[in-house]
């Protein structure tokens, strides 16, 4: 569904409103090719065309929400949307006033469309399989257009559309000896793909050496940006949202109370202006360019969605309570010097399956996974059998932080649970004097 069709549908619904009713219409649209690969062959390949409409019907201080899928046919979609609107209207009569109802009463408009140079998905897959000949490659290709729209009876009209590709894959040597890579963006360049595959071949060469089995204990370590991304993902889980802070559930509770802090070099921001997500919320609020979450290692602010903002009296600065465009400030370490600075310890390429071990102390557990090596005297010498860590971020980003890399990597989420994600993170690598391995 394109912008014109969506706004026409919204106009049709707005014309159906009764009395003082207010309607917010939000659209999510994707036309995606998905190709799963295993052993450098196609495992599953298909296309998904999906369009979903969300409505919020408001009258006075009452509101109800609903959603339905759309077909793309204007007549049929009007029927579906009107049926949903009627159901919401029926329900609105039975719900009480909502003291935290919050929406923008200021009409606003925006239109952001990103250009892209995407190859036909089948062509890209053919090139990938040819380039990776001889490798045990497994992963997922996702490509196509995604769009989000907002229209309201107040006068909001926003459209955000982009076409992109996201190739997320790993190459295996045997069992759990593997290296991982990702290539995503808007302009497909086969040369970049070939370069990444070449780097993976070099990684697999190291993987062919006998794996080092570590005993539980504390080890010096370098966490590559992808591994840092997993830790940031944990902080995104209740770390920054206003409701978690006001109800004392945030894993940064001790930080907010001044009892603990990160290293002064740690700065974490929600970078709306850098990210790929829409710059408007479902309730019609614009998002600011940047929200400071941690500055100088100390708590700086929260992400405030419309509902929490009303409940706790804070201005809205985000569409949801989890970051979608997170950035961790760069440091001064050159990536080329990291192995030397590490000297002897773990080079952790990726972490996996993190969870809170004890959120009261910001303690996280998880596993090492792809591309994790043992380094001696500044040289990568062997892969490492997967190990479990269990440690507090107050240590890893605090008293045991030795440095952050000058270079940062832009990581585009490959997640597709609720359609193709627009989340991204811009992250450096992190050198720590110790990480606790437990199993």
């Amino acid at each position: 569904m394109n912008a014109d069709a969506f706004f026409a549908l919204a106009d049709h619904l707005n014309a159906e409103l009764h009395g003082a009713e207010i309607l917010f219409s939000n659209l999510s649209n994707e036309s995606s090719d998905f190709v799963r690969l295993n052993r450098n062959r196609v495992r599953q390949a298909g296309h998904v065309g999906a369009t979903a409409l969300d409505l919020t019907l408001i009258e006075g201080s009452k509101q109800v929400e609903g959603g339905c899928d759309l077909s793309g046919d204007p007549t049929e979609d009007q029927v579906r949307a009107r049926r949903l609107l009627a159901r919401l209207r029926e329900r609105l009569a039975h719900v009480p006033d909502d003291p935290y109802l919050s929406y923008s009463a200021e009409p606003s408009e925006s239109d952001r469309r990103s250009d892209a140079r995407l190859p036909p998905a089948a062509e890209a897959i053919g090139a990938l399989i040819e380039s990776a000949d001889g490798m045990d490659l497994v992963g997922i290709w996702a490509s196509g257009e995604i769009a989000e729209g907002l229209a309201s009876s107040i006068g909001h009209r926003h459209w955000h559309a982009s076409a992109s590709f996201n190739l997320d894959w790993s190459c295996y040597l045997e069992a759990d000896k593997a290296v991982k890579s990702a290539y995503s963006g808007f302009d497909w360049d086969p040369a970049i793909l070939r370069a990444k595959l070449e780097a993976m071949r070099e990684g697999l060469h190291i993987m062919s050496r006998p794996a080092r089995i570590l005993e539980p204990g504390r080890y010096r370590a370098y966490l590559a940006p992808s591994a840092v991304g997993e830790l940031m993902g944990m902080l995104a889980w209740g770390g920054f949202d206003l409701k978690s802070h006001r109800t004392h559930q945030t894993p940064l509770l001790k930080m907010t109370r001044g009892k603990r802090s990160f290293d002064p070099r740690i700065g974490i921001h929600e970078e709306h202006d850098r990210g790929l997500a829409p710059r408007f919320t479902a309730e019609g609020f614009p998002t600011p360019p940047r929200v400071a979450l941690v500055e100088g290692g100390r708590f700086a602010g929260c992400l405030v969605d419309a509902r929490s903002g009303k409940e706790y009296g804070e201005p809205v600065n985000a569409a949801s309570d989890a970051p979608g465009s997170l950035g961790l400030d760069a440091g001064t370490l050159d990536v080329a010097d990291v192995a030397g600075q590490l000297d002897t310890g773990l080079w952790i390429g990726n972490l996996w399956y993190c969870n809170w071990s004890d959120p009261n102390d910001c303690r996280v557990t998880g596993m090492t996974r792809f591309g994790t090596y043992w380094v001696e005297a500044g040289e990568i010498v062997a892969p490492v059998k997967v190990m479990r860590f269990d440690d507090s971020l107050y240590h890893l980003l605090g008293d045991r932080l030795e440095g952050l890399t000058r270079e940062r990597e832009l990581l585009l989420s490959a997640e597709t649970y609720d359609g193709r994600s627009t989340d991204s993170a811009l992250l450096p690598g992190v050198l720590v004097s110790g990480i606790d391995l437990t199993l």
């Binding site: 599953q44 919020t56 959603g67 339905c68 053919g126 004890d358 997967v386 479990r388």
Partner: protein, 480 residues
């Protein structure tokens, strides 16, 4: 269901010319009601509907999914699927000829005693307000909620071989949470059915004691604030069904998924420490360990008549007397691996192709009560309600945390401990199983957020289990 039948007729009138096709039509209705801190949260009604067309054509397999259920929309989806079948024919991992065909004809409908529509929304909100009020027993309760969620999934699968499987699954999920805080210590306690989902209607509200549970949930959250940390030690461990669900899920269910063993999931959900050669001989656990794939248990989350490729649902032993018997693999994976399997090929909705998933994975009961298990412990910990889960990509090294722990000394339950956790290795952990509760202690539960697959899919998974006793497990508490 008649609506889906009409759409199926639309498709049949223009069925694509190919070796084999399936059309899977899915409609879902969701409703969510919640009262938090005495305030009714915005209710949310959602309706989704779409079709997944699978084609086997010209030596390849392709998928096309669409929310456009018109004749033109279905035709376009079939054409997309045919295009991808051509790619698969050229670059596919396996021959399309092994794709399973189904002529199964079966129907299933959740037996619902009290349909969702029989109680007006105002009365549902009254129940939630009452439950919510009952959680607010102390100023240290800093957040509290009660909710009711309803989901109905109507699915019709038809195939070019004459297969026709219709299934209508109804769920009502009640739940409670209380959050307590004192100083820098925050504790959460869930209850009221929040982690004990089953199929059914509004009768679930009474079954899970939504109202009656509220004071206990809040009191335990408060009590945990003042409880000592769980000791760091090696002790015997009694896991209640509320945690056994997770233990079974992560360290039996996932490692036995045949697509993981075949390598499909290595880039995302991971592989498995289980290899094809282990089936029929590998000692997975002690003699007390009996695990079934059982889609026949009344009201369990994934009970039904067939999987999403039309394979008839049949109960099978996965592990018997501790010996690994068969993997969780649907017909396609069985053909790829040359192993027996189960009818467990499932998709999260109309917009994803089916893959190997857990269905109902149950630990069969042994003998005796929970008290009998506790009586066998000289020095141990009892753990209740999962709150943290992490396991390696081979599903071996795990660490799990629970909301509540209790010390066990000389066969008796003692005081609470907070932030209890334990870690182990799947390959050895189940061999330390030394007690399995009897049928009277069995609880039918499950998880509603099992994630897997590329593109990602989240599905419901059922787990029925009694409490169990494990010997000499590494346990620990909170703190930096």
């Amino acid at each position: 269901m008649q609506h889906l039948c009409d759409i199926a007729e639309r498709f049949l009138s223009q069925a694509p010319a190919c070796d084999y096709w399936t059309l899977r039509l899915v409609e879902e209705e969701h409703d969510h009601l919640e009262v938090r801190q005495g305030v009714v949260e915005p209710s949310r009604l959602t309706y989704t509907s779409g079709a997944m067309v699978t084609l086997v054509k010209d030596g390849g397999i392709g998928y096309g999914a669409t929310s456009d259920l018109s004749a033109a929309g279905l035709r376009a989806a079939a054409e997309r699927a045919a295009g991808w079948a051509r790619v698969h024919a050229r670059l596919g991992l396996f021959e399309a000829g092994i794709y399973p065909r189904s002529s199964t004809r079966a129907d299933y409908r959740t037996p619902v005693e009290e349909p969702w529509s029989t109680l007006p929304i105002g009365e549902k909100l009254d129940i939630l307000q009452a439950a919510n009020d009952a959680l607010a027993i102390d100023d240290r309760i800093v957040d509290w909620s009660a909710w009711l969620a309803r989901r109905r999934v109507s699915q019709l699968l038809i195939t070019s071989d004459g297969g026709r499987v219709s299934q209508v699954l109804d769920y009502v999920h009640p739940g409670l949470v209380a959050v307590a805080n004192a100083g820098s210590q925050t504790q959460r306690r869930h209850g009221g059915g929040s982690d004990g989902s089953q199929q059914g209607g509004l009768e679930r509200i009474v079954a899970v004691c939504l109202l009656e549970e509220a004071p206990r949930v809040a009191e335990e959250a408060l009590a945990l604030l003042d409880a000592p940390e769980c000791p760091t030690d090696t002790r015997d461990l009694v896991l209640l069904p509320s945690q056994m669900v997770l233990q079974i899920h992560e360290s039996i269910g996932h490692p036995l998924e045949l697509d993981r063993i075949l390598g499909d999931e290595r880039n995302y959900a991971g592989t498995s420490f289980v290899t094809p050669g282990m089936f029929g001989r590998y000692r997975y656990g002690s003699e007390l360990l009996n695990v079934t794939f059982d889609p026949t248990v009344p009201m369990e989350l994934v009970s039904g008549v067939a999987d999403d490729e039309g394979a008839p649902a049949v109960r099978e032993y996965l592990i018997r007397r501790g010996i690994l018997e068969r993997p969780l693999g649907g017909a396609l994976s069985q053909a790829r691996a040359g192993l027996p399997g189960t009818a467990n090929t499932r998709a999260s909705s109309w917009d994803r192709p089916p893959i190997d998933r857990m269905g109902n994975i149950n630990l069969e009961p042994g003998e005796g009560s929970l008290a009998d298990l506790i009586a066998q412990v000289e020095r141990g910990i009892l753990m209740d309600t999962n709150r943290s889960w992490s396991i390696d990509d081979s599903r071996n090294k795990f660490q799990f945390g629970c909301e509540l722990g209790r010390l066990i000394e000389d066969g008796e339950l003692k005081g609470l401990v907070r932030n209890p956790g334990y870690r182990g290795i799947s390959a050895s952990f189940w061999r330390s199983l030394d007690g399995v509760g009897g049928p009277e202690s069995l609880e039918i539960r499950g998880v509603c957020n099992c994630g897997k697959g590329e593109p990602n899919q989240s599905v419901y998974v059922g787990h029925a289990t009694p409490p169990c006793l494990f010997r000499d497990v590494a346990v620990f508490g909170g703190g930096e």
